[in-house]
Symmetry: C2
DNA sequence: CAGTGTGAAGCGCTTCACAGCT
DNA sequence: AGCTGTGAAGCGCTTCACACTG
C-alpha cells in the first residue's frame, strides 16, 4: 500500500517494461516466469528485476518464480494503471491526431476524453474522429471528467503557456512532447519526451564512429 | 577531434539541451553566456554544464563565459549535426505522417528522404506530401541516398522485423517509437522512445500521491 | 535444487570547492 | 573580481554473491 518513497525513476521505467513483457507471455498462456526470463524480455539483469520488485513486496515463490497473472496485477496496481486514468491531448496537429488515433493508450487504461487547440479553423471540426475543443473549455472538461493527465503536442513556442493553462485547469501530471523544457509548480509533474533530442543522441553516436576515420566525405 | 570514449549518455542528452538553449539566446542577439545561464535554461546545475563541456575541450573564457555562436558551432560538431544526416521513416500511419510533417527535423539537420510502408493500399500514394514507398525499395534508397538514420513508427508486432530489415539495408542507427524493445547487432545502434511507458511513469507518480489518501473514489 | 530476496561491494554520475586565468 | 576547468568527495544505482525457502 505504501513503499519507500525513494524509488529510482529507472526502476519505475523498468517496471513498465516488465509489465509489457508479462502481458505478452500471459497472452501466450505462460503461467510462471523466473526473474531471468523477465530480464531477457527487457534486456535487463535478473538481479535487477528482483531488486526492483523487492521495493514493493515479496511477489515471488522461491524455487519457482513468479505467477504471471498475479505479478501483472501487482505491477498494474503499483504503476497506478489498475484504475482508468482520464487524459486530454492539447494540439490538434499531426502529432495530436496520431495520439488520438493510437489504440495503445486506451488499451493500457488511459482514456482520452478531450482534444484541444487554440486554432479557430480547427475548433469544432473532427480530427481522427475526435471533436476539437477550444482552450476556453479546458477547465470545464478537466473538472467534469476528473482529468489527471495531459499530453502536450503543440509547437515549442506555445508549450510553456499551454502547461500553465493545464496547471490552472487542475491537471496533475503532464507529458510534454514539445522540444523545449517546460516547468510547473509542485505537486504537478511534468515529463518531457523530446524526439529531436533523441535524434541528436543518435547523431552523436554516428559522429563518434566517424571521427576516428576522418578525412573522407564525398 | 576525439574524446574519452566514456561519455555518459546523460551528458550527451544534456548537450542537446544546451544546444537548443544556445540557439534560442543567439536568436535574441546575446553574444556571451555563463554556465549559470545555460544551466537555468535546461534546469540543470552550472558545475554540470562546465563538466559536460570539459569532456570535449576548453570552450570558455575565464572570467567571461562562453561565446554563444562559437559554443553553438562546437556543440553541433560534437553532436554530429554539423553535417546533414539523411533519414527514412518506416510506417505511414498517423505517427509517420506526423513525423514527415514536422519541420523541426529538417531545421536541425535531419533530412527525411523516404517514407516506407508495407501496406499495399498506401504504397504509391502521398502522406503529408511524401510518396509512400514499399519496403522492397528500402535497400536501394538507403544505399543511393546514404541514409544513416531510420525512425520506426510501426505497430509493436512489426517493429523487430522492420529493425531487421533496416539493419540488412545498411542503416546505422535507429530510433524506435514502437512500444516494444527491439535489438540490432553492433555496430548498429537502437534507441527507443516509448510514450506509453512514459505515461505509466506519470501514472505511478499519481498513484504514489493517491495511496496515502486511500479510501475514497466515487 | 532452482530461484527468490537482500546486505554489501562496486561503479559511475553528480556536486562541491577551489585553483587558475583573464 | 568573475567565471571557467577540474580533482576529489559524495551519493545513488547496479551488480554480486549467498543465505534462505519450497
Amino acid at each position: 500500500m505504501s513503499w519507500p518513497s525513494n524509488i529510482p525513476e529507472a526502476t519505475v521505467r523498468r517496471l513498465s517494461k516488465y509489465l509489457a513483457a508479462l502481458r505478452r507471455v500471459e497472452r501466450d498462456g505462460v503461467e510462471t516466469v523466473s526473474s531471468v526470463e523477465i530480464a531477457k524480455q527487457g534486456n535487463a539483469n535478473a538481479a535487477q528485476v528482483r531488486k526492483d520488485l523487492s521495493y514493493f513486496g515479496d511477489f515471488g515463490y522461491r524455487g519457482v518464480g513468479y505467477k504471471v497473472g498475479e505479478l501483472r496485477a501487482e505491477l498494474m496496481r503499483i504503476l497506478g494503471v489498475d484504475v482508468e486514468r482520464r487524459a486530454v491531448v492539447i494540439g490538434a496537429g499531426n502529432l495530436g491526431a496520431a495520439l488520438i488515433g493510437y489504440p495503445g493508450f486506451e488499451r493500457r487504461g488511459f482514456r482520452i476524453v478531450g482534444l484541444f487547440d487554440n486554432n479557430q479553423s480547427k475548433i469544432g471540426h473532427r480530427v481522427s474522429g475526435e471533436r476539437v475543443l477550444g482552450m476556453a473549455q479546458l477547465g470545464a472538461v478537466v473538472a467534469k471528467q476528473d482529468v489527471e493527465i495531459a499530453v502536450v503536442a503543440v509547437p515549442a513556442v506555445a508549450a510553456q503557456q499551454v502547461v500553465d493553462a493545464l496547471v490552472a485547469a487542475g491537471v496533475r501530471s503532464i507529458l510534454n512532447l514539445a522540444p523545449i523544457e517546460t516547468t510547473a509548480p509542485p505537486p504537478v509533474i511534468v515529463r518531457s519526451v523530446d524526439m529531436t533530442a533523441e535524434l541528436e543522441v543518435l547523431a552523436f553516436c554516428l559522429a563518434d564512429a566517424d571521427k576516428p576515420l576522418e578525412g573522407e566525405r564525398s
